[in-house]
Symmetry: C2
Subunit: 214 residues, 2 copies
């Protein structure tokens, strides 16, 4: 019974919010954007705090308005996958701007927020840059949260994904706020280390991707 409530206003911002302005909706889109096609329970885990029935409702609404498709997997798998349509993917700039605007709010973690390491994907690709794209690619492994993540340079682009690198140039380990602070250029390396960040490997390569201080 998902009923799509509308502002009933002839304004494109209002129309957009009619579709993605409800609670949890954009975070579900964020999950699908970061992780690609996902199962119901993957989404449930990636959205700590959401009620299971609410996730069902939202997925139905998103399907109804054409932002998500449900791919019913063939028998052996016994599960189905939710993935973004093109129109759903087109929400990326909105998430990016929200993430950019929200970045300063990450400076003082309350400590009681939930955290999932794959949430780092957005900030990494938003803030990091490859200053010297012609040099051999580098890999950075991040160890924070429940699973490791890899940040790498792929011809001038920053790519971030789950998993371990087989031979990373550097490994960073510590609280997410420290990794984020360091890699977004807000926290100097020695300060991050002083606050508990552990670094191993060739820390010099970090300069290559950390943005210039303003």
């Amino acid at each position: 019974m998902p009923e799509v409530r509308s502002y009933e206003a002839y304004c494109s911002v209002a129309k957009a919010l009619d579709l993605v302005g409800e609670r949890w909706t954009l975070l579900i889109v964020r999950e699908l954007m970061i992780s690609g096609p996902s199962r119901y329970t993957d989404l449930l885990h990636g959205l700590p705090g959401i009620a299971s029935n609410l996730l069902v409702d939202r997925l139905k609404e998103l399907e109804e308005v054409g932002l998500v498709n449900r791919e019913v997997a063939p028998p052996p798998i016994a599960t189905s996958l939710f993935h973004l349509t093109d129109r759903g993917h087109a929400l990326k700039p909105i998430l990016e701007e929200l993430g950019r605007w929200g970045a300063p709010l990450m400076e003082n973690p309350s400590g009681k927020e939930a955290f999932q390491s794959h949430w780092l994907v957005f900030p990494m690709e938003l803030h990091l840059v490859d200053h010297t794209p012609k040099r051999p690619p580098i890999k950075i492994e991040l160890r924070t949260g429940e699973e490791p993540m890899v940040v790498e340079t792929v011809n001038g682009q920053i790519r971030t994904h789950r998993g371990s690198a087989d031979n990373p140039n550097v490994i960073l380990e510590g609280r997410p706020g420290l990794i984020l602070g360091l890699l977004t250029g807000r926290l100097p390396l020695d300060e991050a280390r002083r606050r508990g960040l552990k670094l191993s490997g060739d820390t010099a390569v970090l300069k290559r991707v950390i943005p210039a201080p303003d």
Copy 2:
């Protein structure tokens, strides 16, 4: 009593939505962005459908989190003005991306949505361009909704504001969907005219600001 509900997630998108993700919040910001410092009742009129108590709540929350300031006017005026802080203004890219994403949803008006002419400001500045900035500036008057609006070129920029132009190059009059369709390049001039748009003056100047068809 406004309690700021949080997703409690260490993710900048979630943090942003903690502050501006509630119902009506971004539309209030849109109003303040378009109209500048506004009185309570101006906002109430610009947000058809909002409950008066909800507007009060949201304004308090926005004040609390530092996105809006209340300027208590001196005695003779007996009213106060709400205006965006710098941090509030910084939400502009988010509204722009929402507006851009929502634009296709404007193609088929249901006809029963509310409309206010000043809502045209965003789409105009988002879609129109001045193809020949060196030629003398032009002014277009739009007559739709409750008050006229003026679109003008100011050294290469598109400016849109309330009011009448004293000597506009063109005057467009008709349903907002037609004006929007024409000026965003989706509707050819003769088609718009056939559907009821009235044009007077030098319609040739329209080519100067209508975006190239893709």
